[in-house]
């Protein structure tokens, strides 16, 4: 607002070389400790375990996966809400993964987060004017009447009535609260917004409103989104590229049309077929790929390919060696899959039954 935006206002095409955010081998482990005074580490939750990812300026990168696969942890790694265990995060040419709290302050202005729970993410004891004005207060950008004016501008921008400045979060519906969260994230005109399941707590009718709002704001302010969701149709709607996560690793990464049109990883195939279809006849006719068992514990992930205990195509190789995230033969360079036996186009996985998974490596977790 007062400072000119360094990025030109014309809409840029996301291109390969214009990278805003790079994650290299990002690892986040939570130690499990035992003991009262002398704590010894007895294990670690491998929430995020070596993620490689680039996000281009102006694009929306979708991140999907089951509950507990590490999506939210990865989001909090990107926003540096906690220190990384290993790996590096480069934002706009600067490595931010080892910065101290104080050094992170300029970064905080450029990367914002929208949270999943519109009820939990707004302090119930504060008026929304002061909640949205928080970024201005924290970074000393504006105060007094100027802050109020800017907050009301933001409220108008996200479709809230600026006259509701003095109300409390309890006076608003879920969709409106999420708009408040969007306004707060937008206050400092960040370059990157990490959306951690921004619509999954909302009614379906409200979801579309919020998604349209986010898309409109992206065009207006040339924002880059990392969009986390477990709803595949939402991700398909908003994303330019999509990354699929399983147990702390990215198993497939491709342009949206590629991923939804020709999913190569068996897990992606299973996910896509598990999604709901609005047409009951088609839904009834469809056959799902049945994944046996639960997601294994991230404390003790399976050897080799982490998906092998549940994979219908798993063989001995999957049990022994971990596949690399790389383009499969015949795929565009953009389309990377971490699988030894990627699904060929047209292949029907529903006829296969889980093989090596159940035979070789029964999960022993109690």
């Amino acid at each position: 607002m007062t400072k000119p935006d360094p990025t030109p206002s014309i809409q840029r095409r996301p291109s390969d070389d214009d990278v805003l955010l790079t994650l290299r081998g990002v690892v986040k482990h939570y130690p499990i400790k035992h003991g009262i005074i002398f704590k010894t580490e007895i294990g670690r939750v491998r929430a995020v375990d070596g993620v490689e990812l680039t996000v281009r300026r102006g694009e929306t990168l979708g991140l999907v996966g089951e509950t507990g696969c590490g999506k939210s942890t990865l989001a909090r790694c990107i926003t540096r809400l906690f220190p990384l265990t290993a790996g590096s995060i480069v934002f706009d040419g600067q490595d931010i993964s080892r910065l101290s709290r104080r050094e992170l302050r300029p970064y905080r202005r450029q990367v914002q987060m929208i949270f999943q729970d519109p009820y939990g993410s707004l302090n119930p004891r504060r008026r929304i004017g002061s909640i949205i004005g928080d970024p201005f207060a924290i970074h000393g950008v504006a105060d007094g009447a100027e802050r109020k004016r800017r907050v009301q501008e933001l409220m108008e921008l996200v479709g809230l009535n600026p006259e509701h400045y003095n109300r409390f979060p309890a006076d608003f519906s879920g969709g409106q609260r999420q708009r408040i969260g969007v306004a707060r994230a937008l206050a400092l005109r960040p370059k990157l917004i990490v959306c951690d399941e921004p619509v999954s707590a909302l009614d379906v009718s409200i979801q579309a409103q919020i998604i349209n709002l986010l898309e409109g704001l992206q065009d207006e302010f040339n924002l880059t989104y990392v969009f986390i969701a477990h709803d595949l149709s939402v991700v398909e709607h908003v994303s330019d590229r999509v990354a699929v996560m399983y147990l702390g690793k990215i198993v497939e990464l491709a342009d949206r049309d590629q991923l939804y049109g020709q999913p190569r990883h068996p897990y992606t195939n299973a996910l896509l077929l598990a999604g709901s279809i609005a047409d009951p006849d088609r839904a009834r006719a469809r056959r799902r790929i049945i994944l046996t068992g639960d997601v294994p514990s991230p404390v003790d992930p399976p050897s080799g390919c982490r998906f092998h205990p549940r994979c219908p195509k798993a063989q001995q190789l999957c049990f022994d060696t971990e596949p690399q995230l790389q383009p499969e033969p015949g795929d565009p360079v953009e389309h990377a899959t971490a699988c030894h036996f990627p699904v060929a186009p047209g292949e029907d996985l529903t006829v296969l039954t889980p093989g090596i998974g159940s035979a070789v490596d029964q999960p022993t977790e109690g």
């Binding site: 949270f115 729970d117 939990g120 119930p124 504060r126 008026r127 009535n161 003095n166 109300r167 519906s173």
Partner: protein, 320 residues
Amino acid sequence: MSASELSEVADLPDPAVPQPGVERQVEGRSPWQLAWIRLRRDRVAVVCAAFILLLVLVAILADPLANWIGYNATDQDQVNGITADGLPVGPDAHHLLGTDNLGRDILVRIIFGTRVSLVVGVSAAVAAVLIGVIVGLCAGYLGPVVDSVLARLMDVVLSFPFLLFAIALVTVVGPSELIEILVIAFFSWAAVGRIVRGQTLAIREREYIEAARSLGAGNLRIMVIDVLPNLMAPVIVYVTLLIPVSIVFEATLSYLGVGIIPPTPSWGNMISDAQNFYQVAWWYLVFPGAALVLTTLAFNLLGDSVRDALDPRTERLFAK
């Protein structure tokens, strides 16, 4: 509720445009305002608050009241205040609540005792809560290292045999009102600290704290602006419940002779003095005791009502 209706209306496609017919300004009611409204509807709370207000007025106006009654707290009425045998005189026209064994007016002494009880009780409770909130907030928010130090400190304070310790301390330092306040505060803050610590531990995991951190807010700002307002409800309840405890504590110390020293009157030392005379002068024991009981009761009931008002989910059996 009209506020929620308006919110629904505002959810229509273009909520920025004011809807016709809903021009009426609705100011968001803060949780405090809602609690205040609930509290005013609670009859028990209103009666107790009125009684406490009366006590406060009596304490403030103790000197003019004593002048008006005609006796001072230490005046010994040798004419009407004591019998020929040197015994206390019961309630009569000269002395409304009777006199003690030295011919001093009991009503006036209770009035001055109110002042002592309120000053010591309220100051000690406020001091204890201030210390408790600061320590508890730091223990809960600043991470495991600070927490383990402060939590152990609270454990140590709570494990003191406080009455023995208070008596010993006052014996060494010498009794005074200030020492009494400090002693009571010292033995009360740890309980508050524990409660605040627990609440803080729960609040710090909330998403809005994460949101504040992702915006770049520092620890102090988060503790004061985001955590503290959410602690105010339990803290206010604790203050109202800690005041009667402190008043009783004060009376106990005075009763044991290590609080307010005669001839300055306090409910505790009056009850203590009355012990030798209760067989011939029931009023000497009953009226100071009643003052203590009623005051404690009023604060406790008000504290319960405040808690109910601040947390509408809890239900009390006989509350309307």
